[in-house]
Symmetry: C2
Subunit: 196 residues, 2 copies
């Protein structure tokens, strides 16, 4: 599985996402095409197991969140912590994430796949939140916003992180995420219609 993903990343980097066929990837990884599709539902998914790990970590951490606190804040804290884990260790995960992010930047189709992949995850995350924070009637919007907000900010943060590193600038992923969160909150505008 790691071999397949590695082969896929290599080929995507070398000859582009569309030019690389599943057959080539499978051959490069030393497995059959059929086996490839047992591990990855689509060609693009082969580049994204790092994100899967990340989201697994988030999902696990949500189980320990404080059920009485504000869901949005709790989820943001979870994300921040997981981001720190990924970034701190100078661990291989961060390296792979950066590698994928570079690919995502120049391959719109891969970015679509990433977001698409996130969409499926968001549903699961929403259910996990509902289980933890209770399906209080009016909270449908609140939990949805928490999920969409945090995943979007995380994505924006990762992309900005990758972009800055590529431009030779310094960039600390958790800091960027915190920045993004502040930016999202600052847009508090006075002229939006009041809500009952």
């Amino acid at each position: 599985m790691a071999e397949i993903s590695e082969a896929a990343l290599q080929l995507f980097e070398d000859r582009g996402l569309e030019a690389a066929t599943v057959e080539e990837i499978a051959a490069a990884a030393g497995v059959s095409q059929r086996t490839f599709f047992r591990y990855f539902a689509t060609k693009e998914d082969a580049a994204l197991p790092v994100h899967r790990e990340f989201e697994d970590a988030v999902e696990a951490a949500v189980q320990q969140a404080d059920p009485d606190a504000d869901p949005c804040t709790e989820l943001a804290t979870v994300y921040l912590r997981v981001l720190q884990d990924f970034a701190d260790h100078a661990c291989p995960a961060a390296q792979r994430m950066l590698r994928v992010s570079r690919l995502v930047r120049r391959e719109p189709l891969l970015r679509s796949a990433l977001v698409r992949h996130g969409a499926a995850r968001n549903s699961r995350l929403l259910q996990a939140l509902q289980a933890r924070f209770g399906p209080s009637g009016a909270a449908d919007l609140q939990l949805r916003v928490a999920v969409e907000l945090c995943t979007s900010l995380a994505r924006a943060a990762v992309e900005t992180w990758a972009e800055r590193l590529e431009a030779g600038r310094e960039a600390v992923l958790p800091d960027i995420f915190a920045d993004a969160q502040l930016l999202a909150q600052r847009g508090r505008s006075g002229h939006l219609p009041a809500v009952p």
Copy 2:
């Protein structure tokens, strides 16, 4: 094009997204399969021209935004206005949007396609914002956050809107969007690490 989309919606509703083939859709719309793919890049896209209209409207409205104001606030205002246009008129667009949203709820693959579609749009929107609000060096994160935030909140709002209507509750789309925005801002937490 409208006929193709209508036929696609009908078939998706009747026999499900995966069971309906492009050949059937094309036949139902009275065109060839080849023509279908001239108008829609993928089968799923045939259900999403309403969203395309919506995003076109947003993109157009961004051209009139105040370049000196806060981008995030400006973009949110644009979204709110376009949402009002779509909802106010009791126009067919709102009806179609609702119809698609119902499909999206029970067809995860369609939701993926929707998000994937949005991903491509976000890139364009980001460029439009950069053109309007200027590529001021440190603003890369700010504009990205604005885009991700607004599109995510809009998606959450539309889904909640559809869900509430389906449950027989009252629901006003622009109000829900404003609600979502407030919820996103309320998560201002004190214990996040300070950012330089």
